[in-house]
Symmetry: C2
Subunit: 413 residues, 2 copies
């Protein structure tokens, strides 16, 4: 945890209501530092369904392997998340640590180990001392409460400077259902499906299949549309849990994501993920600017995404933005290196609402002073129009500052 | 030009001998700054052949477009290089500027405009005031000399902190031939064939086809195996010129790159390119460490290259090295995100000669003190063995420091 809060942190933190069927507890297991809250236990009512999307890294962490296996059943009764140690690249020891953690949680939650999901974040390559969970797991289960969402969000922070929470409600049949989400992430952010750790809970009665469908649809433009440094974590984990408790209040049981009754819910669900993903960009390590990249007129949507990523991950674009320099030449460079269909003579570029380049050359009305004023703002939209087709994409990123280098030049010590 | 020279600059600068058929001149055309040497003219004897590799950027600069067209003939009589302005993304104005520059050079060199090659480096998007060349071109042609290689290398610098030159000789038949090269480049370095600007000259009597073959073979492991920031320039240009003057001293005329008589020459030619490419990495903006990345045991050579690039361009790996932190977990992350065949449980990693990770877990003999000592050195080799196949690759990069951010946060002003 860093000392100073990101200047881009949300000014308003919503209060998260309880969700029927979910209780939470946090504790200090001493995983990396003594007396620091570093573990969260979520207890889930019987019948809770689950779904998830996990990192596509070829070197995933042990808890990612664990979740990939256990998600197949679509059922969950407990979730254990720890910070301080990612249990990644820990070989056989890592697998033993996940098994032990799940056993301790299953005993405490009175369920099967196959109903326990796990996530870890922190240093890679250090063995996770899972035996330390033995001292705290029973207490956690006994003290779990429905209304400590912000504490849970704080307990999973690493280099994050603020806890990330989001909430929404939706009508499902005659019932109002709740969606709460928490997330952590600030660096190693270029999710190749989900980013870092995020957990979303609802009382809606959804089948695991429906939940998986919703999740898959929602990540594309939320967690997969944010990047801090182009680096994809070994531990990216986004899990969703649906307790189904709202069925008692009249919410219909839904088995397919395409069910038209889910339309409002899907929108609310996506808004929670979008809020959490944006908060990750706002807490990008060392970030001073939130940058929205919009690419229009690409040959296809996939092409637009690739070009948007090329711009968002370019160190030269990111340092120029840090320096409040509207260096659109570097945007041209980043478009050019993406390797996607582009024609210099059709390209136009805007910073804020101001067009700086048009059809392959500097805009004839280019006004340095007006553009400079835009660059001084904490939130900047950078738009590129390619004139090749109808592909469009939007992704969020942040600037690259000396603080990013400082934070990451000395993370382990 | 930066005030302080990179700590990684070569301690020995070779003296470049004259090459029969090549004369050089430098001048101050006032392209960006008054009274700064910013233009080089190379005059080439009649019969000089030429070959080149150019950026694969989809938004190439106007001089890159020009060279792509003119290289088809394989003949050259003059080369004009300017710094201060890249003449990139300048639209119709840019094309007019290349045509005017070539016309002025053709008049001065008494040749056809189709025998003039051009390269520009500097800011993107500003119109190049090519009319300024009119004032200096005649003087340049009249004052051209055979022995001012270092001045030419200095005239094409932008953020470079030292001029980059290399030389070698080889036997061709009974004659000794000379190969001289100059280069510039410090940022926006992730060449997708050549990097920034580099010009190589020889008196060997080679056909344009043979020269192109040699160039293509040599770039793969030299200029294409170096990266500073993963950003590919719109202006990457590597040109080679063979005056053929050594034929008078008995060197045989060679028409194919595969000619066995070229073996020694090809080796010397590659060594010149390798030296220039390494100097680019040594002058990486803000660099304090030269980093050699070796990937072994990949599924294929292409796979090894992709993984090596993923490691070399990872901001988290580069900042860790800047912080002298042997954070091999981030190497695992970078291997994982490359998307190439990899198996965590077969992966081993070395910093310097010290193995830090073995078969998917921390090396049992891991010694933090020994690794820390390696990390303090100015040159670090990072080796990854994948255990998947026989693919091997090596690329050079540098660390990512606060100085990189400072240099690039305020480049235009």
């Amino acid at each position: 945890m860093s000392g100073s809060i990101s200047p881009l942190a949300p000014t308003h933190v919503p209060e998260l209501p309880p969700i029927d069927g979910v209780t939470l507890a946090t504790g200090a297991a001493g995983i990396k530092y003594p007396n620091r809250t570093d573990v969260v236990l979520a207890l889930l009512a019987p019948g809770t369904t689950t779904a998830g999307v996990l990192t596509r890294s070829k070197c995933p962490s042990a808890p990612v392997d664990w979740c990939r296996e256990k998600l197949k059943s679509g059922k969950a009764r407990a979730l254990v998340v720890n910070s301080g140690n990612a249990n990644a690249f820990t070989g056989r020891t890592g697998r033993a640590a996940t098994a032990l953690t799940a056993k301790l949680a299953a005993e405490a939650a009175n369920c099967s180990t196959s109903e326990v999901l796990l996530a870890s974040t922190g240093v890679i390559g250090e063995p996770l001392p899972a035996t330390k969970f033995a001292d705290v797991m029973g207490d956690l289960a006994r003290s779990a409460q429905p209304d400590i969402w912000i504490d849970a969000a704080k307990a999973i922070m690493t280099t994050d400077t603020f806890p990330k929470v989001a909430t929404a409600t939706a009508k499902l049949g005659s019932a109002t259902v709740v969606i709460n989400g928490i997330a952590k992430g600030a660096g190693m952010i270029a999710p190749d499906m989900a980013t870092m750790l995020s957990f979303v809970f609802t009382d809606a009665p959804l089948s695991a299949t429906a939940l998986q469908g919703l999740l898959k649809a929602a990540v594309a433009d939320t967690f997969n549309a944010v990047t801090v440094d182009g680096d994809t974590s070994t531990s990216d984990t986004l899990l969703a849990f649906a307790t189904g408790a709202a069925a008692e209040r009249g919410a219909p049981r839904i088995s397919r994501a395409a069910d038209p009754r889910l339309r409002g819910f899907a929108k609310a669900f996506q808004s929670v993920l979008a809020s959490l993903a944006e908060q990750v960009a706002r807490d990008g390590e060392g970030a001073r600017k939130l940058v929205e990249i919009i690419v229009e007129g690409a040959a296809s949507q996939a092409s637009a995404r690739k070009i948007a990523r090329s711009i968002a991950n370019s160190p030269l674009v990111k340092t120029a933005i840090a320096g409040e320099d509207a260096n659109w030449g570097r945007v041209v460079m980043a478009v050019g290196k993406a390797g996607e269909p582009a024609d210099r003579d059709k390209l136009s570029i805007w910073f804020g609402g101001i067009r700086v380049a048009q059809r392959g050359a500097r805009d004839p009305n280019y006004d340095e002073a007006a553009v400079s004023a835009v660059m001084k703002k904490p939130e900047i939209t950078l738009k590129v129009a390619l004139g090749m087709g109808k592909g469009r994409d939007r992704i969020l990123t942040c600037d690259l500052t000396k603080e990013y280098v400082a934070i990451n030049g000395d993370y382990r010590s």
